[in-house]
């Protein structure tokens, strides 16, 4: 238990050894303490994010149990290729982001900028594919509340000729799509925020920041980005995969 407190003490010594870097804020004793604090804060924020998406995942599980056939059939209407492509894009972007953090840690400005740009492009790519999918669902009348119609689930499809639901169950696909749009929408919102933040960080990095030991903003943004990736890692199987063969 004492160890926590002594951390501050040691940072005290650090404070004496080093001169103040410009980014050290007044109420911290050392860069070390500041960075640790920022990271911990970020983790706590991600904790709230877990619970934020948690509510949605919880609803998803309940309704999947409840309206199993509707969830299966509705899931068939999503494009597997789009989901797979998006998963790939996001995983690569996570990798590029991890490399960006590495570049910042090793203080290589060019690499930092390069990896950040790659991440932004991949993120935008993800959003484009998502937008395409949403558009498709709009055209198919799958958007609950706005233009939903269960007609498409009554007679089977080309790929899944057995997907014939009775009308009452076909109506329940609306619950699936409600959750689908809520979940992917919230996720996309997080992506948009992420891309915006990253663009801002890129702008600053371009001006020469984050390669002087001030890693925390890049590192914490990286945590955020990876978290958004993890959410997708779960959305992908839940929405696209697990019902392929039912």
């Amino acid at each position: 238990m004492d160890s926590h407190t002594l951390a501050a003490q040691t940072s005290e010594t650090a404070h004496i050894e080093h001169e103040h870097p410009p980014f050290l804020r007044h109420h911290f004793a050392s860069v070390e303490q500041q960075r640790e604090t920022a990271t911990f804060g970020m983790w706590l924020f991600l904790l709230t994010e877990i619970m934020f998406f948690g509510g949605l995942f919880c609803s998803y599980l309940i309704f999947r149990n409840w309206y199993y056939p509707a969830f299966v059939v509705a899931s068939h209407s999503l494009h597997l290729w789009a989901g797979t492509l998006n998963t790939t894009l996001l995983i690569i972007s996570s990798f590029t982001m991890a490399m960006a953090v590495h570049a910042s840690e090793t203080r290589v400005r060019k690499a930092l900028i390069g990896w950040m740009i790659a991440t932004i492009i991949l993120g935008c790519g993800f959003l484009c594919v998502k937008a395409y999918e949403w558009h498709d669902e709009w055209v198919e009348h799958h958007v609950p509340g706005l233009n939903f119609s269960p007609q498409g689930f009554l007679h089977g499809t080309h790929d899944y000729p057995d997907d014939k639901l009775q009308l009452d169950m076909a109506e329940k696909t609306q619950v699936y799509f409600s959750l689908y749009f809520a979940m992917t929408g919230m996720h996309a919102l997080h992506m948009v925020i992420g891309v915006s933040l990253l663009s801002f960080l890129l702008f600053q990095a371009y001006g020469g920041k984050y390669v002087n030991g001030h890693v925390a903003p890049i590192e914490n943004f990286g945590l955020y980005w990876h978290f958004v990736d993890i959410v997708w890692i779960f959305l992908f199987p839940l929405l696209y995969l697990i019902s392929r063969h039912q």
Partner: protein, 553 residues
Amino acid sequence: MSTIVTLPDQRTATLPKVSYLNKEYGLKSWLLTGDHKRIAVLYLISITFFFFIGGAMAGLIRLELLTPPSDLLAADTYNKVFTAHGIIMVFLFLVPSVPATIGNFVIPIMVGAKDLAFPKINLLSWYLYVAAGCMLLWALVSGGVDTGWTFTTPLSTHYLNTHVVTAGLAVFVAGFSSIFTGLNFIVTIHRMRAPGMTWFRLPLFVWSHYAASILMVLGTPVLAITLTLVVLERTIGIGVFDPTKGGDPLLFQHLFWFYSHPAVYIMILPGMGVISEVMSTFSRKRVFGYTAVAFSSVAIAVFGFFVWAHHMFVMGISSYSALVFSLLTMLVAVPSAIKIFNWSATLYKGSITFETPMLYAFGFIGLFTIGGLTGVFLGSMGMDIHLTETYFIVAHFHFVMVGGMLMAYLSGVHFWWPKITGRMYPEGVSKLAAVITFVGFVLTFFPQFILGYLGMPRRYAAYPAEFQVLNVFSSAGASVLGVGYLLPLLYLTWSLKYGKIAGSNPWQATGLEWQIQSPPLTENFVETPIVTHEAYDYEWLESKKENEVPTVG
């Protein structure tokens, strides 16, 4: 093992030349400040504002309920009034009350830090609070909301044409304000403690805020997503809670109470922290069973997450899960009992004086015990069937929230007022206010227990004539209570200019915040303190005085 404490002579005390209040001048210096103390003051002002708006709504409720028919207010106006009362009091007053004002002010000092870990986020949290407040006021001014503070679906999503979306978003924003406060506290308590300030040297105030912050960080996001879904359901028409589309309105109840039950502990735990400080200070004694009190805070926070469905016993949840939730409700009541008894035992062999904060703290102990024990009534499933949604519940939660937390809040405000402003308030009238509040409170809310058992439903604009007598008592009590709350507003404001100078440690308390000047410097400490003593170490305080050791800058 004994302590004599003589209070310092306040006639010789002087106001320090430089303090956080006069370091910088001008509106801008306040609105852009990163100083946790200034943000605390900003919060203090804004929550007082909202408290009185909420109080005015309570006044309207009680006036309407003076007579059986809905004559003063039409039914829909009444509904808007109690909704506004509930939302304002819970989200804009009670949740931020102690943490965002007193907690913000003293926690960094108590742990020996110069500021909270994230000053900008702290300021952002205040702005979010203000934004939420404005949105809610806007919703009220432009026609009101009548969902009740619980936003019950499908009523809120499909059957009302009031400003539900605005109000929902306001609560959403207020939620993020509270998330950021909690996040800041946790990080500060973990990472910013002064050398030597171990976990078990922390004042219990810090422990209880730590526990409450865990609840804020983990619970509030669920409320956020729930309200998002409600808003989406209202605007776009998605179907997660809507039974006509296949959704389940009970799922809303699950998600809402998953936050809102822990939220009641967000509301009480910081108050419990205040009581620990006050009881200890005015009996000049270490809090009895420090570790038990500290761990019971954490236990309340942890178990608080397991009991939410006790709000749904009659709603058609499965009887088996009702059993589980009822059992866990009983378990979560135990740590509160532990605390109450420890505070009582703190008095044993103390050297007790009865300053205003202590009077409020006594009020807390009595009223919270009643409120908590009636919570046990509600937790026993069979009893809850008769009591739920009646005035018994209204009485229960006002006893814990007003009799408990509001008393604790006022106790804390009076206790730390000299530190915040550097001045004392008039002792006589403040004691009078404490007594008036207590009497008014009991008169207002005790009859409601009886009303509730008689069966009077809550949220009723009109009620059968046989309930009138008790309602008249209650309304009479509310006016006494109103006076009790207006008095502090008046004399505390008065004391800003005319109050006696307090000096750095008017109560001879042991917390680090009392070892620095009042009002404190912007940086709190001249040099980082090194802590070598336990919390509530009155011998250390004495020796410090004798030897004039300048341990703390």
